[in-house]
């Protein structure tokens, strides 16, 4: 279900009627629905009769919805957690990439002889051009043994040696001869018809893409892939119908993910099994790709990710590190570790594309939006993915919509998905424009949003914001402060979509010694899924989370979802609860005879097994387990479809920022953020809030500091470190207050959802932008808002021209 198809009407279609007709194997249940304290009601759902009993709301549960300590916290605070970067195997070699030194070239030759001679070097691998049956797009290009270099930093080869510094030295000894080609790293220049072409050759016109297989109507002209056009209704007419029209241009920069653990793997190629430790958001995706690439059965590829140092969307699939390390391991007969260095991490494994957006919105006097038109150009380097129409399409109700999204190729590393792809860019423009529109309509920002957003959860969130001290402290008159340091308050909304990955399964085992464990290949990228799975087991078996065992991050276990798009908790927890439920039933059946009762008479709570009828005195879970008639009972379950399929939920938040603008230095300080968010049933509120804090901080960092800088003359990134690539640190963090909405949607046995994308990362920029206007009376439409940008914005616009 793509967001492009989502209409506001669908979005607000909550509580759709359930077919009451009974179907074999199905039963009708009543589930909590809505927000406790606000809109809580009940909804009927028809669900498979194999499903566990409906979970009540959080306040009636013992472990779910509470915030026990992070399951692996001890390992993390004590340094015991083994990340991919920490894996050390006997005889392990350290590999290092050789990367392109120029942004666009044909490789003439690669001489590895000096590197091979260096003592300690055990293997060299060159990335070959696997033309196979393919025909080069541009026949005038000389066929080459090697792929074309399209960005500086593109991996070309790799060496493996006994120690890291030997590998580094060897990499420097590999001599690559380039036939340099004209390049372009500036998006504006890349759009010009005389620009060097990143992908030369005959352009694909819309029609020639025929034969199906994807979106029609996306042409290619020079370096531009696009526009991808999405039209609903006649926007031209929509603007004619409008009483007020606001139109502006917004610019956002390229951000890099900069996860603290770089991309990388340790690959151990054995004749019957390729074992790979990977810093990945998807053990499943790494396994699938390595198996497909090397033509191995999946059963002979094992991927392990027990601890993982952050991904933010960039770590899916095996990637070059995975393929090259595995190949080197095969070649050398030794395990090979290939972790990228920080420069490579910035250059070659992804980023958030830039955007240049022209956004036009028309509205009636009462706020009704008659038309939204967005034309965007963005660069995802030598890849695609710079679209940013998500917020314009999905945040508010509109009568007509016309979006055109264009990818502009430049000679820079390809983008990868980054936390709410396209949405921070889009929201920066949309949410400032909505504020501008509100001002023109003489409406309060919240009042207009109430008019154009009927989502009942957002409505509650706005109500909480309206009553908050921070929002009340906002002076509706912009630029009210007299001094050089001006205070401003502004808000922004965010939206994300409920997606489910059906590749979500788990096994739950109960042992005769009373230990309980859950196994799933899912990986914990820092969001805390280990803890949540423990909580689900605890709720079922009545034993505390620290007493249950969580074994994840290993493809030897049942398949787990890739962690991206806020899907993990929503996808996996129902499978785990189903497995836990089934295992508990088997467990009770196994012990009931010995306890002199029947399984349905037994209850598991507070670490005890007790009898409803009083046929037996409560005994400890451990003692009860000792009465099992086999050593182990277990159950495996996989995700079943959402209970109310075809219905589409969104999550989101309303975030208020208070900032101070020093109008003399151009420095912005974010003082406070008040954020109200929902994510379905919060499984572990503390972990959810931790993620929202983090999303907001990452959003602040993006808004004010981060910027991938490419030298225009040489096409090389100049700030490829964590010093000049500036990420918010401890002293940039404002006072944060997050209010979490508990919202029930009746969709699964846990009714859980996700928070990663909606967690403030997309709203921070717009909230700061709106606060900036409130502080200064000036719209800031360029990011990052450095002193240079701020002083220019303040100097160009008379400070008192724009009023409410």
């Amino acid at each position: 279900m793509a967001t492009t198809k989502l209409t506001p009407a669908e979005e607000t279609m909550l509580g759709a009627a359930v077919d009451a007709a009974t179907t074999p194997g199905m039963e009708t249940v009543t589930m909590p629905y809505g927000i406790p304290g606000y809109t809580l009601t009940q909804v009927e759902r028809q669900i498979p009769s194999t499903e566990p009993p409906v979970l009540p709301v959080n306040k009636d549960l013992q472990y779910i919805g509470k915030s026990p300590a992070r399951w692996d916290a001890h390992a993390k605070v004590s340094g015991a957690g083994r990340y991919t970067a920490d894996i050390q195997l006997p005889g392990m070699l350290y590999a290092k990439f050789v990367n392109a030194a120029v942004p666009h070239a044909r490789i003439v030759s690669i001489d590895t002889s000096a590197a091979e001679k260096l003592p300690g070097v055990k293997g060299v691998y060159i990335i070959q051009h696997l033309l196979g049956g393919a025909v080069l797009r541009n026949p005038s290009l000389d066929p080459s043994q090697y792929p074309i270099v399209r960005y500086a930093g593109q991996p070309i080869a790799a060496v493996a040696a006994t120690l890291p510094h030997i590998a580094e030295e060897a990499a420097l000894l590999v001599k690559v001869q380039y036939d340099a080609k004209p390049f372009v790293v500036d998006m504006q220049k890349a759009r010009q018809s005389n620009s060097p072409q990143v992908f030369p050759g005959p352009a694909d016109q819309a029609g020639s893409a025929g034969g199906g297989g994807g979106p029609h109507g996306v042409p290619q002209t020079g370096n531009i892939h696009g526009p991808a056009v999405h039209k609903v209704g006649d926007a031209e007419q929509g603007f004619k119908d409008a009483d007020v029209v606001v139109e502006s241009k917004y610019t956002t920069q390229v951000q890099t993910h900069s996860a603290l653990e770089t991309h990388g793997v340790v690959a151990d190629w054995k004749p019957d099994m390729l074992t790979v430790w990977a810093s990945t958001q998807g053990t499943a995706s790494v396994r699938e790709e390595l198996a497909a690439y090397f033509k191995l059965p999946k059963s002979q590829v094992r991927v392990i990710t027990e601890f993982m140092g952050g991904g933010f969307g960039a770590k899916f699939g095996a990637g070059n590190p995975g393929v090259v390390a595995a190949a080197l391991s095969k070649q050398t007969g030794a395990p090979v570790r290939l972790m990228l260095d920080r420069k490579e991490e910035h250059l070659s494994v992804g980023n958030r594309p830039s955007s240049d957006q022209t956004l036009k919105i028309g509205a009636k006097k009462d706020g009704t939006i008659t038309a939204i038109q967005l034309v965007s150009y963005g660069t995802a380097g030598c890849g695609t993915g710079a679209g940013c129409a998500g917020p314009a399409t999905n945040l508010y109700k509109w009568a007509t919509l016309h979006t055109e999204e264009n990818d502009v190729f430049i000679n820079a590393g390809p983008a990868t998905a980054m936390r709410a792809p396209g949405h921070p860019q889009g929201a920066f423009a949309l949410e400032q424009t909505i504020d501008e529109l509100a001002a023109k309509l003489n409406m309060e920002p919240l009042e207009l949003r109430d008019k154009i957003d009927e989502n009942p959860v957002r409505r509650v969130e706005r109500q909480i914001v309206r009553e908050s001290a921070l929002w009340k402290s906002r002076n509706p008159m912009p630029n009210a402060d007299r001094g050089s340091i001006k205070r401003g308050v502004g808000l922004s909304q965010s939206v994300w979509y409920r997606h489910i990955n059906m590749n979500s399964a788990a096994e739950v085992r109960v042992h005769r010694d009373g230990s309980v464990e859950v196994l799933s290949a899912v990986q914990d990228i820092g969001t805390g899924i280990k803890t949540v799975l423990a909580q689900v087991l605890s709720e079922q078996f009545g034993v505390p989370p620290e007493k249950v065992s969580v074994k994840i991050g290993d493809t030897n276990y049942p398949v787990g979802p890739n962690s991206g798009g806020s899907v993990t908790t929503a996808s996996l927890t129902p499978a785990v609860r189903d497995a836990a439920w089934q295992a508990s039933q088997k467990f009770l059946a196994s012990i009931a005879p010995a306890l002199g009762t029947t399984p349905d008479d037994l209850v598991l709570t507070n670490g005890e097994v007790s009898s409803k009828s009083g046929k037996m005195q409560p005994i400890s879970f451990r003692r009860a387990a000792a009465k099992m008639n086999t050593d182990e009972v277990s159950a495996q379950a996989k995700r079943i479809p959402d209970y109310n399929q075809g219905h589409y939920d969104t999550y989101g938040g309303v975030d208020v920022a208070e900032i101070e603008v020093d109008t003399e230095t151009g420095l912005i300080r974010v003082k406070k953020i008040f954020a109200v968010h929902d994510c379905g049933r919060p499984m572990n509120p503390s972990q959810v809030i931790n993620q929202i804090n983090g999303g907001l901080i990452q959003g602040i960092s993006y808004t004010l500091y981060e910027h991938r800088l490419l030298d225009p003359n040489f096409g090389l990134m100049v700030n490829h470190n964590l010093e000049q690539y500036k990420i918010a640190g401890s002293r940039e963090v404002p006072e944060l207050h997050v209010e979490l909405i508990e919202s029930y949607i009746g969709q699964s046995s846990t009714d859980a959802s996700g928070i990663g994308e909606a967690a403030g990362v997309m709203s921070a920029a717009a909230a700061i932008g709106n606060a900036f206007h409130n502080a200064t009376g000036v719209r800031i439409r360029t990011m990052p808002m450095t002193p240079s940008v701020v002083l220019e914005a303040l100097s160009k616009t008379p400070q008192r021209s724009e009023t409410v």
Binding site: T665, G666, D711, N713, G729, T786, P787
Partner: protein
């Protein structure tokens, strides 16, 4: 990082003899090692021999003398910023040292190393670019990305002076003690210590290859001296200054008898502004005179394509730091300190 021989020295004389023997033969001095290891890891510095002076205990410590202060070159920035006498009488120095880099770097970075560290320029600090400072004949910053570069004296190499300690020490009219095995000790004022890039972009200071920076000598504060230092960065957590200002005032009541105004990240060599200083001399310190001084300090500024904002920023840094030094303003919440 390339391989090297580490000559680990436990005495000053040992280090000096090492330098004497190996001067010009690829030997470099390593103290805290923060900047050197950064350059080596980037492949920009490739010394074959490191003369390790980090563990020479005799070169470390803050000594109060009748003439002022004698600070061993290996004294760390943390030790200087936390020293009670320096905090009390040389505020500019404790603040400058205390706002440099990160707490962890300040724990090992020495004052000598801080004064001797290489200038800030991402072209220079990347092995992707062979520039003037590496003995080549081209500067990449002029037509490239120069938002953090110099606005003064930027005709040859617009990299910026990195040392916050130098801002303070120039303001305090301090000197460095340079020692060699052959020629013994000499004392060079900070104002004469640095070499403008148009003289020699690779040289940076007057220190000879066989010389060791052994101490920093700070004269006794004049009567009525008040001082302050403030650094402005895009971030308040670890970041380099986009503007920093050191101000030393000799006050007689509310009249400024003498002023020193120093800027760090404005030029390749730490720079004072006689024009700005003259505007304050003999006058009361007010917001008006302080702002006038800040404005005057920009005379002759020639911003590059992307750093024009610094011409707006420095006058603010200066006027606010003048007022802070004069006790007329609190520490600026926009500053890093």
């Amino acid at each position: 990082m390339n391989q090297f021989v580490l000559a680990d020295c436990t005495t000053e004389s040992g280090a000096l003899s090492q330098l004497g023997q190996n001067a010009g033969k690829g030997a470099v001095v390593k103290a805290g090692g923060v900047d050197l290891l950064d350059l080596m890891k980037n492949g920009v510095a490739t010394p074959t021999r490191l003369v390790n002076i980090r563990n020479i205990s005799g070169m470390r410590g803050i000594h109060e003398t009748p003439q002022g202060l004698n600070i061993g070159a290996l004294t760390t920035l943390t030790e200087i910023s936390e020293h009670p006498a320096i905090r009390a009488h040389y505020t500019i120095l404790s603040d400058a040292c205390g706002s440099a880099a990160t707490p962890h770097i300040r724990n090992v970075a020495t004052v000598g190393g801080n004064l001797l560290q290489q200038n800030r320029c991402w072209y220079f600090r990347s092995d992707d670019f062979a520039c003037l400072k590496k003995g080549k004949d081209v500067c990449f910053a002029f037509d490239g990305l120069n938002q953090y570069h110099a606005i003064f004296d930027n005709g040859t190499c617009p990299s910026v002076a990195p040392s916050s300690a130098a801002v303070a020490l120039l303001g305090l009219n301090a000197s460095v003690e340079l020692t060699s095995a052959k020629k013994g000790k000499r004392v060079v004022a900070i104002k004469d210590f640095y070499v403008q890039p148009d003289v020699n972009p690779m040289m940076r200071t007057v220190i000879a290859p066989d010389e060791l920076l052994t101490a920093v000598i700070v004269p006794k504060p004049a009567a009525g001296m008040r001082s302050a230092y403030q650094k402005y960065g895009e971030k308040r957590s670890y970041d380099w200054a986009i503007a920093d200002a050191g101000v030393v005032l000799e006050m007689d009541g509310n009249i400024c008898k003498r002023a020193t105004i120093v800027m760090g990240a404005a030029s390749p060599v730490v720079r004072s502004s006689p024009k700005a200083e003259a505007l304050l001399t003999g006058k009361p310190i007010t917001e008006e005179t302080a702002r006038a001084a800040g404005k005057a300090a920009m005379e002759g500024a020639q911003p590059l394509s992307m750093n024009g904002y610094k011409v707006q920023l420095f006058p603010v840094a200066i006027y606010r730091t003048v007022l802070l030094a004069a006790g007329q303003m609190d520490r600026d919440p926009s500053a890093v300190g």
